[in-house]
């Protein structure tokens, strides 16, 4: 529980800090400090157990099925890191309180800071690897927030994005690696994983898992070639750099190496990968650090180099190297954090971090200068300071390495070279900033910082000294415990003495010191040489930016190539997809059998004539399609032929429906043609037309083949049930109608809903549409007065058509007809009135809100459905009975007829809404443009 609290307190702090900020700027700082101190106190309360060799684990199930637990672990390694995080965190909070300017939002800063702290604690205290990964990615995210804290600076934004891209991307690799590891081991719990070294390293998945995990570690710890994000993250406020980029976040990578050391290390793959990365980073970054003019840049590259050193040590895979690695983690955290803080002070008080302008600051801020010089000396590996000790251990380990045979000299040599560089850049930092003449053009006169800003630096520098002088006494127990945590095994023999005698390592240190001084003295020629060798800025950022830019350009290219905004393309793809899957499926299941044995439809002249007519009319429509009106007439022919086919093949209801729908469609299209172009030029080239013809032909052949195959296969259907049940169960002899209103009445219910929605949608669509009708043709329009004969004939037609509708409606259940067709007939009859006499005249006589008609129709059908609930039957259960009345005789009453009446009303309403709305677009009731605005289109 305490463990959980240690992680939760800072995370909750992210919420509490802004709350506390209500009491002023300092409130946030106090809250942050208090919470950190609390967590630190809790941690220390657990420390004795850990020192006693216990591993504390507490666990709660989160998603046990996939091995995800809220489980935390405190062992030596975790304790060390948690101490660093909380201890340095406390110092950074103190420092930041004075560092931040009044313009910066303190609550926001500390909230982010606490969030980061919690995430970082989570990383180092997780027992579950997935949980570790979760916190791992959280550190990347919070670092994004912190680096981009000064959001108006473009370098801050870019640096934050770059850091997030690299570390976040590495996190994804780590996720994959952890999942593979979990797959190998069968658990994500560290206690299990760390005990399964043999299983893991002999598994086929070991190599990919290792590579992926290392990618995660290397990106986070800025190992070459992923190092470049760290210098750019220096755009962050300095407390952030001091905290994240020296002591904590970048250490997460090496923490991971340490954490996984027992499980993954030892093999050749581990050795070569980790060592190579570490070595290259160590030397390369140290060299680059020399040429940074920005203090923070220098420190950043120095950090990278030191991380390389630690990585290199873990790469050796030996217990002693691991101890050295842990020791250097501690030392580096201490001196680098203090150096960053010092750099921050200099920046804060002198207004720049450019070493070409900063000089002779010793005079202005001697106290800070001394602190910085001690820390820099520790960084350089000067004896009696903490850095020296771990560096010595490092040199010893490079020499002790057995693996490289005749190349064994390489690592010590390069390590020494890196030592030379380290001394040189440390010297440059001290000399260039604090001595080397007078400052040049500083924005302000530098002076010592406020008292409280120095305290954190003092504490850390004191630690440098104490550890450097009394290593065994000060850091000994912690190092032992932590190293034990890394190894998960008894510690090897090592000694923390300042002096181990005059050995090779001392020689290396001396070479580094002397060489470093020489190097610094020769720096002017070196700078010139460097400038000649690498003109312009040094590569990695450019490479990264280029990659990102390339990625963006590629994705824009791909996206615009695919989603090019052309419906014709999308349609062609759809057709092509259908043809492709059709061909694919048709090619399965053996050879196609083209026997005519299945044919059974008798050959008949009428049918042939209708079909030929259909083909001719279809062809005519295509040929004429650019002349819309003739094409419409052809379309009428097609529709008629289809209806005739329905009649011929014994489907009168279909024919009736098709006919009535068709005429409404033609009227609709005519209404549209009043606004749309009637003639069109061919606007696709012949290539496009051929492509389309090919696609269309392919689809046509496909459907023809499908039809043929269906028509010639044997057939069993459940329709027998409908034929048997139509009269006894549905009370109607027109099976199609009984299916529509009873067996599958729910389809019809949906179908009229579709129509109703279409009408509603159309009504909505036409709102505020101002559109100019087509210009009249060569001879103008005929006068507005409707043709006399039409007007006269339309009057008796209305009641006649209504009567036909009643007829179709009433008998639909037993004979061809039904509510839908009847509804359309009424619709057509009413449209006739509109055609003959216009909207105004007709609407004056037809004061009906068509939407109400639709609503009533829908309600009727709905109520018929719901009524069956009363008798405990499911929705739309129908009933019918035969009544005997005198004179009238026997007649049937069926609830399905009420449903059909609903259908009828809905259809009437819909037809009228659609046609009347379109009709109203032009003519006397057309919407008028708003006068004062003058915008029409």
């Amino acid at each position: 529980m305490t463990l959980l609290l240690i992680v939760l307190i800072p995370l909750l702090g992210a919420l509490l800090v802004p709350v506390a900020a209500a009491r002023g700027r300092m409130g946030a700082a106090w809250m942050a400090g208090a919470l950190t101190a609390t967590a630190l106190g809790l941690l220390l309360s657990l420390a004795p157990q850990v020192f006693a060799g216990e591993i504390l684990v507490s666990s709660w199930a989160w998603m046990a099925d996939i091995g995800l637990y809220f489980s935390f672990r405190l062992d030596g390694l975790g304790l060390l890191f948690a101490l660093l995080i909380l201890g340095i965190g406390l110092l950074v909070i103190l420092y930041a309180t004075y560092y931040l300017s009044p313009k910066d939002s303190m609550p926001k800063f500390f909230a982010y800071m606490m969030l980061f702290m919690g995430a970082m604690l989570g990383v180092v205290l997780s027992e579950n690897l997935i949980l570790l990964l979760i916190f791992w990615e959280l550190t990347s995210l919070t670092s994004f927030l912190l680096v981009s804290f000064w959001r108006h600076r473009s370098d801050a934004r870019q640096g934050a994005r770059m850091a997030l891209a690299v570390t976040g991307g590495g996190g994804l690799c780590l996720l994959a690696g952890i999942l593979l590891l979990g797959e190998i081991v069968g658990s994500y719990e560290l206690s299990v994983v760390l005990a399964s070294a043999e299983l893991i390293q002999n598994h086929d998945l070991y190599a990919p898992a290792l590579v992926l995990i290392l990618l995660g570690a290397f990106t986070k710890s800025a190992q070459f070639p992923f190092h470049f994000w760290l210098p750019h993250a220096m755009a962050a406020p300095t407390p952030v750099s001091a905290y994240l980029h020296s002591a904590t976040m970048v250490k997460a990578g090496v923490f991971l190496l340490a954490r996984m050391h027992p499980a993954l290390s030892g093999g050749d793959l581990w050795f070569y990968l980790v060592t190579a990365a570490g070595l290259v980073t160590l030397v390369f970054a140290a060299y680059v650090a020399l040429f940074r003019h920005d203090i923070k840049g220098l420190l950043a590259y120095s950090t990278i180099s030191h991380l390389g050193l630690i990585t290199l040590l873990f790469g050796f895979g030996t217990p002693l190297a691991a101890v050295a690695g842990v020791f250097h983690i501690i030392n580096h955290a201490i001196f680098k954090a203090s150096l960053f803080m010092a750099a921050g002070i200099i920046d804060h008080e002198a207004g720049t971090r450019d070493m070409r302008r900063l000089s002779g600051l010793f005079k202005y801020m001697p106290y800070t200068a001394v602190l910085a010089m001690v820390a820099a000396a520790a960084m350089a590996g000067v004896p009696l300071l903490n850095g020296f000790l771990s560096k010595e251990m490092f040199f010893v380990e490079t020499l002790a390495l057995q693996r490289l045979d005749e190349w064994a000299w390489l690592i010590p040599a390069l390590a020494t070279l890196a030592g030379v560089f380290a001394v040189a850049y440390s010297l440059r930092f001290i000399h260039d900033v604090f001595f080397n003449g007078e400052p040049k053009n500083l924005p302000k006169v530098p002076h010592e910082p406020p008292r409280w800003m120095k305290i954190p630096v003092e504490v850390l520098v004191t630690l440098c000294l104490l550890v450097g002088v009394f290593p065994a006494f000060t850091v000994g127990p912690l190092l032992a415990t932590a190293a034990g945590g890394v190894l998960q095994a008894p510690l090897p023999e090592y000694s923390l003495a300042i002096w181990h005698g005059f050995n090779e390592a001392i020689v290396m240190s001396l070479v580094a010191l002397v060489g470093g001084v020489l190097f610094y003295l020769l720096r002017h020629r070196l700078f010139a040489l460097h400038a000649r060798l690498s003109p312009g800025e040094f590569g990695a950022k450019q490479v990264f930016d280029g990659l990102i830019r390339g990625l963006l350009n590629t994705s824009r290219c791909i996206t615009h190539l695919l989603e090019n905004g052309s419906l014709q393309r999308y349609m062609a793809l759809l057709v092509g997809a259908a043809i492709t899957v059709g061909i694919y499926a048709a090619a399965q299941h053996g050879a196609v059998n083209f026997s005519m044995s299945g044919t059974s439809i008798p050959i008949n002249g009428v049918a042939i004539a209708i079909l030929v007519g259909l083909i001719l009319a279809g062809l005519g429509t295509v040929i004429l399609h650019r002349h819309r009106l003739p094409a419409l007439v052809m379309l009428g022919v097609v529709g008629l032929c289809v209806s005739l086919l329905f009649v011929y093949f014994s489907a009168p209801d279909l024919a009736l429906t098709q006919l009535s729908v068709e005429v409404v469609t033609i009227i609709l299209l005519l209404l549209a043609l009043h606004f749309m172009p009637q003639e069109a030029k061919a606007d696709s080239g012949s290539g496009r037309r051929w492509r389309d013809a090919l696609l269309a032909g392919g689809a046509g052949i496909g459907v023809a083949g499908l039809t043929w195959a269906v028509l010639t296969s044997p057939f069993e259907t459940l329709s027998g049930f409908y034929l048997e049940q139509s009269v006894p169960g549905g009370g109607g002899t027109n099976v199609v109608n009984v299916i529509l209103v009873d067996f599958r009445g729910f389809d019809t219910f949906g179908e009229i809903t579709v129509l109703a929605i279409a009408a509603i949608g159309i009504h909505a669509l036409l709102q505020n549409l101002l559109i100019k009708p087509n210009e009249p043709g060569r001879y103008g329009w005929a006068p507005a007065k409707p043709p006399l004969l039409l007007e006269v004939i339309s009057r008796p037609l209305l009641p006649l058509a209504l009567m036909v509708a009643v007829y179709l409606m009433l008998r639909g259940h037993n004979e061809p007809g039904g509510g839908f067709i009847a509804g359309l007939v009424v619709g057509i009859a009413l449209v006739m009135q509109y055609l003959a006499s216009g909207v105004e005249w007709t609407q004056a006589r037809l004061r009906v809100d068509y939407f109400k008609v639709i609503a009533v129709g829908l309600i009727l059908s709905l109520l018929t459905g719901v009524a069956s609930w009363i008798w405990g039957y499911p929705f739309m259960t129908t009933t019918f009975t035969y009544l005997y009345w005198p004179v009238v005789g026997k007649f049937e009453v069926a609830s399905a007829m009420v449903f059909d009446l609903g259908v009828f009303l809905t259809v009437v309403g819909i037809t009228m809404v659609i046609l009347a709305e379109l009709g109203k677009l032009s003519g006397p009731l057309a919407p008028r443009p708003v006068q004062n605005k003058g915008e029409s289109r």
């Binding site: 006068p783 007065k785 043709p787 006399l788 004969l789 007007e791 006269v792 004939i793 009057r795 008796p796 209305l798 009641p799 006649l800 209504l802 009567m803 036909v804 009643v806 007829y807 009135q833 004056a844 006589r845 037809l846 009345w885 004179v887 009238v888 005789g889 007649f891």
Partner: protein, 165 residues
């Protein structure tokens, strides 16, 4: 009387509708006569707004005779037209004829125009906006005046009588 008038605005038409209903259902059963009557009464009443004025049939007997005449003419006319269609093109003497109207009742004009269209070699094309002339297209017009005269006597006169205008 006025109640009857209101309930039964178009008695003739209601009768026609009843007949239509019975024809539609192909029956003379009592139930359908009852149902048909109801519908035939309700529909004209419900659509009353769409009717300009009541239809006056002054001479029903003449109307019936006129109907038979027209049917006969249609039959004869068709045989003539069939001949014209199947004969060589040069035999056609098409022409547009302006036929002066002596009626001003819209319904009567419509009936006349329809009759002209259904009978020998003529189609009525247009009514002038002042309703004074009817434009007729003839398929085989020898003498324009004779054609006008024949229409006048054979069709327009009885129609004028029937509708009393």
């Amino acid at each position: 009387m006025s109640i009857v008038k209101r309930l039964l605005p178009h008695p003739i038409f209601s009768l026609v509708l009843l007949m239509v209903w019975l024809l539609l259902n192909n029956t003379l059963s009592a139930g359908h006569i009852l149902l048909g009557s109801i519908i035939a009464l309700v529909l004209p009443w419900a659509t009353a707004g769409f009717w300009a004025d009541r239809l006056h049939l002054h001479k029903p007997g003449l109307a019936l005779r006129f109907l038979l005449l027209v049917l006969w003419d249609i039959t004869v006319a068709n045989i003539q037209v069939a001949k014209l269609i199947l004969s060589p093109r040069s035999k056609l003497r098409p022409a547009f004829v302006h036929y002066p109207l002596d009626m001003d009742n819209d319904f009567a004009i419509t009936v006349l125009a329809a009759t002209i269209s259904l009978t020998p070699g003529t189609v009525s094309i247009d009514v002038s906006s002042d309703h004074r002339t009817l434009l007729v297209h003839g398929l085989d017009v020898g003498d324009e005046a004779a054609l006008i005269a024949e229409i006048k006597s054979r069709y327009e006169a009885p129609i004028k009588e029937i509708f009393g205008c």
